[in-house]
């Protein structure tokens, strides 16, 4: 016990330090335990037999040849393990009359997308399972695929699920006139049509389908041999998975333990109760033995859920001096063949974000979710907000053009001013803080906006082959999911709170159990920094435990940039409780009254004296419990749950300059500046890393990535040769910075950052591409803005043909794609 105070020894504040991530040593040296590393005695391996057809009835499955292979334990169809009776959960019935098809764990009589599982092979090794899976003969009767959303909604269209009677999953409407948060947008737009002082601008944009492409393929191990059934899974949502397994399979919840060990990325793609997880469990139960499933990259691209995929019809009315009077948003959102865990709600999140940072007096949002015979869509980094941000930020440029206004000036004229916060939007959210002017001013200066505009003009004048384009995205987003009551009002199937528990160990070290479930974000570092400051203990004295429902029994996991803004606050609340519980014990030890104590830098001190006791010493004292006050428990551990009162609203200004080679259509990044306001920053290094990764993914949507299907419903971009992910070689050094308006809805003043870069960047890039070649007559280009599409758009604008003979076949000029097409046996290598 120390009784002296030496201010020179006062710990440096951890919050705000650019700590290197403590988890990286084990993660990047590969010394950690991923699910697929799990080895259990007697472990069996499974391989899935998958449909090559998008839509077909299953006439028969012949497993006899596969069963003959040495080392095979079993080959099961859906009925053999009851997988056809399972209803995989969708937790977000967005409307009362939402139409939900049964989603089995394996298809029983009909497959509804290419890649759907129809049988499972169990073997003593993964290699034997794979060999045997090829020997399972499935007899299919092909049905018409359903691929085009607009066609799918027409009368007489082929139905993905005939039993539903329609391909429409749900229609979700928000009307600010009805909600009382604004006027009637339909009337506002119709009035503008006949008003000489207004114009109405209509645009259709396409959000292409994307694949999340997390680094670690999905993997699940189920051990049914103990009292509790244990599932290890590469998942973002161990807690939700546990509860959903209980609800879906009728298992007692207390007999299930789910462990998400270190997980190698998710980007939303691992927010799921995957059919393969359930199949692994069913097989393990049937055999009474531990079973592992690990997907290949090809399986992952084909069957792990996809993201985005919308058709956006947007209408904006605006006065000729540039004041927005109405916004109408009509969306078609492709659900794919089934509903994922939160799939139907993803496009609906956009309802709150199309109005973005702007003061829009009348607003209507109308989204129809559509079934097709494609892989299902669900959350992908940003989930609904990137789609909305793209729509509005592209539209702002288009309207500015029609008005003849500078695009940033048009935005400025309509955005919420910094002295208008808190501001309740037309879509009913209350933005607590923000300063769009400050972020924009700093970004414009870093970017040298005026200088680049001059350079652009010069290049135009000279008729350079490489034209410069400048694109803007001034965005906000809603994250920190979420106030439980708001989720309730949206018919979401769970709350939005988060839990943390702090265990003060006898030696003064600290274990923090969190309900959020990191998969690459750096929670262990950031939370350690928070706890170090809150409790005044060393950064290295703190261990963050997560991902195992046995230790972390209460949590809602990681998505929607919630881990810090919700989970981090639960950590703060738990630390506050630890201090509260320690206080009477400190008073007892110091022989002082509680009222005379103050807590600072890890120590209770008697005001006006040099007497004090450290919290780590109190931990030892309650462990020994030899001497503590009457009437309280000898324990300073604490547990807290935080339910946020509001979302968090990070915002920022992203500016992109690209060079477009007008001879070839190739787009190269030239300069990228972003100034993000994510509230107070715990660890600037982690924030910058999140922004960089987010930018790469958002830029990739603009320029590179697309999950494309052919007219039979076959995924063309089924390997990473065809699904062109960018690498560092394709991107540039980003210039990032932060402005700070602390959030007022949580004690740390933080906002989320995990999705900001992805949400903001895509429209900035596409706006810049169009800005580079609009003078050539180009009006729009679908994403990704590939060289071929850019060149074709220039050709078309100049009156020559282009892209006339685009073949809808696997692209790559060669390699695997052309190997598959022309040379199944490969070459003479």
């Amino acid at each position: 016990m120390t009784t002296t105070e030496n201010p020179a020894d006062a710990p440096v504040k951890e919050i705000g330090r650019d700590r290197r991530r403590k988890e990286d040593r084990r993660l990047i040296t590969g010394r950690t335990q991923w699910t697929d590393n799990k080895a259990l005695t007697g472990l069996l391996h499974i391989a899935m037999v998958r449909s090559p057809f998008a839509h077909a009835t299953i006439k028969g499955i012949d497993t006899s040849a596969a069963k003959q292979l040495p080392g095979i334990v079993g080959v099961y169809t859906a009925a053999d393990i009851g997988a056809d009776q399972v209803q995989l959960p969708c937790a977000w019935p967005v409307t009362k009359d939402m139409r939900s098809p049964q989603r089995p764990a394996l298809a029983g009589s009909r497959v509804n997308f290419a890649g759907e599982g129809v049988a499972v092979v169990v073997a003593r090794s993964a290699a034997i399972a794979k060999d045997a899976a090829e020997l399972v003969e499935v007899d299919y009767d092909e049905l018409e695929p359903v691929l085009d959303m607009e066609e799918a909604l027409k009368d007489g269209a082929t139905l993905v699920h005939p039993e539903l009677g329609t391909n429409s999953n749900a229609q979700w409407v928000f009307d600010s006139g009805e909600a009382g948060s604004g006027g009637n947008a339909t009337e506002a737009i119709s009035k503008a049509e006949s008003d000489d002082d207004q114009i109405v601008v209509r645009r259709r944009f396409r959000q292409q389908r994307l694949v999340p492409v997390f680094m670690e393929p999905r993997s699940t191990v189920v051990d049914p041999t103990g009292e509790q059934l244990v599932m290890w899974s590469s998942t973002q949502v161990p807690h939700i998975l546990k509860t959903m397994l209980a609800l879906t399979l009728g298992l007692p919840e207390h007999k299930i333990r789910v462990i998400a060990p270190d997980v190698g990325g998710g980007f939303g793609g691992k927010i799921a109760v995957a059919p393969e997880e359930v199949v692994t469990l069913l097989v393990a139960q049937k055999l009474g033995k531990p079973v592992k499933w690990t997907e290949t990259r090809s399986e992952s691209l084909l069957t792990a859920h996809h993201g985005r995929d919308q058709i956006q019809d947007l209408t904006m009315s605006v006065t000729k001096d540039g004041t927005i009077t109405g916004l109408d948003v009509k969306l078609l959102a492709d659900m794919g063949a089934y509903l994922g865990l939160v799939g139907p709600g993803v496009p609906i999140l956009g309802a709150f974000m199309f109005n973005a940072i702007y003061k829009i007096p009348s607003y209507r949002f109308d989204c129809t979710n559509v079934f097709t015979t494609k892989t299902l869509t669900d959350a992908y980094r940003g989930a609904g907000r990137p789609e909305a941000t793209f729509g509005i930020e592209r539209l702002m440029d288009e309207v500015a053009l029609e008005l003849g206004m500078e695009p940033m000036e048009f935005r400025k004229k309509n955005w919420i001013k910094h002295d208008e916060f808190p501001y309740t939007t037309v879509s009913t959210l209350t933005y607590d803080t923000g300063n769009y002017e400050a972020a924009t001013d700093q970004a414009m200066q870093m970017f040298d906006y005026d200088g680049l505009r001059r350079e652009q003009a010069e290049r135009r004048r000279r008729g350079d082959v490489k034209q410069l384009g400048i694109g803007i995205s001034t965005f906000t987003e809603m994250c920190g999911l979420a106030p439980s009551r708001v989720l309730g009002s949206l018919d979401y199937g769970a709350g939005g709170w988060e839990t943390a528990a702090i265990r003060m160990l006898p030696t003064g070290k600290v274990e923090v159990v969190v309900g959020v479930s990191p998969h690459g974000q750096g929670h262990e570092t950031a939370f350690s920094q928070i706890v170090a400051d809150q409790l005044g203990v060393g950064f290295d004295d703190v261990e963050i435990l997560h991902g195992d429902t046995q230790s972390s029994y209460r949590g809602l996991d990681t998505y929607g940039s919630r881990s810090l803004a919700v989970g981090g606050i639960a950590v703060v609340k738990a630390a506050e409780k630890v201090i509260e519980k320690a206080k009477p014990i400190a008073a007892h030890m110091l022989e002082a009254s509680e009222g005379d104590l103050e807590f600072s830098a890890g120590k209770f001190s008697v005001k006006g004296t040099d007497k004090g006791v450290g919290i780590q010493d109190i931990a030892l004292a309650v462990f020994a419990a030899h001497d503590y006050p009457e009437g309280i428990e000898p324990d300073i551990d604490a547990h807290a749950t935080f339910d946020p009162e509001n979302f968090s609203f990070p915002h920022g200004t992203h500016l992109c300059a690209v060079e477009v080679d007008t001879e070839t259509g190739f787009v190269s990044m030239y300069k990228y500046v972003c100034v993000d306001d994510v509230g107070n920053v715990i660890n600037p290094l982690i924030v910058e890393g999140q922004v960089h990764g987010g930018l790469a993914q958002g830029i990739a949507q603009a320029l590179y990535e697309e999950a494309a299907y052919d007219d039979q419903g076959t995924l063309l971009s089924g390997t990473l040769v065809d699904y062109t992910l960018p690498s560092a070689a394709d991107l540039i050094s980003f210039d990032t910075a932060n402005t700070t308006t602390a959030s007022t809805t949580n004690p740390l003043g933080v906002k989320g950052v995990g999705e900001a870069g992805t949400i903001a960047s895509t429209p900035a890039v596409v706006n810049s591409v169009l800005d580079a070649i609009r003078h050539l007559g180009v009006k729009d280009i679908d994403m990704p803005t590939t060289p071929y599409r850019v060149w074709s758009a220039i050709q078309k604008a100049s009156g020559t043909s282009g892209r006339a003979d685009e073949a809808n076949v696997a692209s790559p000029g060669a390699g695997l794609g052309s190997t598959a097409r022309d040379m199944p046996e490969g070459g003479n290598l």
Partner: protein, 283 residues
Amino acid sequence: MIPAQFDYVRPTTVEEALQALRDGGDDAKLLAGGQSLLPVLRLRMADPSLIIDLGGIPELRGVREDGNEVVVGAMTSHHDVTRDDILRQHVALIQEATKTVADPQVRHRGTLGGALAHADPAGDLAAPALALEAKFVIAGADGTRTVAAADFFEDYFSTAIGEAELLTEIRFPKYTGWGARYEKFNRVAQAWSIVAVAATIKVDGGTISDARIGLTNMAGVPVRATAVESALVGQSATEDNVRKAAQAAAEGTSPTADADAGTDYREHLARVLTGRAVLAAAG
């Protein structure tokens, strides 16, 4: 990676490799780096019964001069090609093209002979080899034979290498003092070429005195842009002259159409990239 089962041998001499090929029959595959073979195995697009790994044969590696030729062993890695001083001095074009192949990891594993024998129409080394008029030394039961580049590439993924034969050397004439440029066009840095142009140019006193140009992915096999070559010779190396000559670049080609490019776009790219490659090589 879980390919179908296969047997594996790792011979230490060309003779042993040829014997293994004869023993393995037409179901044997040579592993010369694995950059194309392994993905095909992984996806089970091929299931050879025997893999003959050429990585243990020292005589197939290395670069040496032999009179007026530079001889490159078939198993010389892309990385070694990019670092070799003899090639830099005499056959710069193959080095320029090799630098654009995939990424450093791939360049450490992949080999010149492996890439040429694979004969992927979008591979980056066939067009330079054709333009450079390389000769391919092929070993078989009856000793070795030499095939000119113009006769080596027969079709998509198909070469003059016969069954139970092995490519051992690539012999390049010396192009000492020629400029070289490989102009590659692809979607992302690690993707295959949509179109690429290999050009090596000899300039004497501002006038182009000789030119060799090969096109990647403009047909099932690499194509020599002979019309451009003849149009260039005798011209001063000005932008106007070069661009005019490059207009003939798509003559005699038969490119495919896919999601990355239609035939018209590939033809257009061939013209544009040829102009750029020649200007850079002549500069």
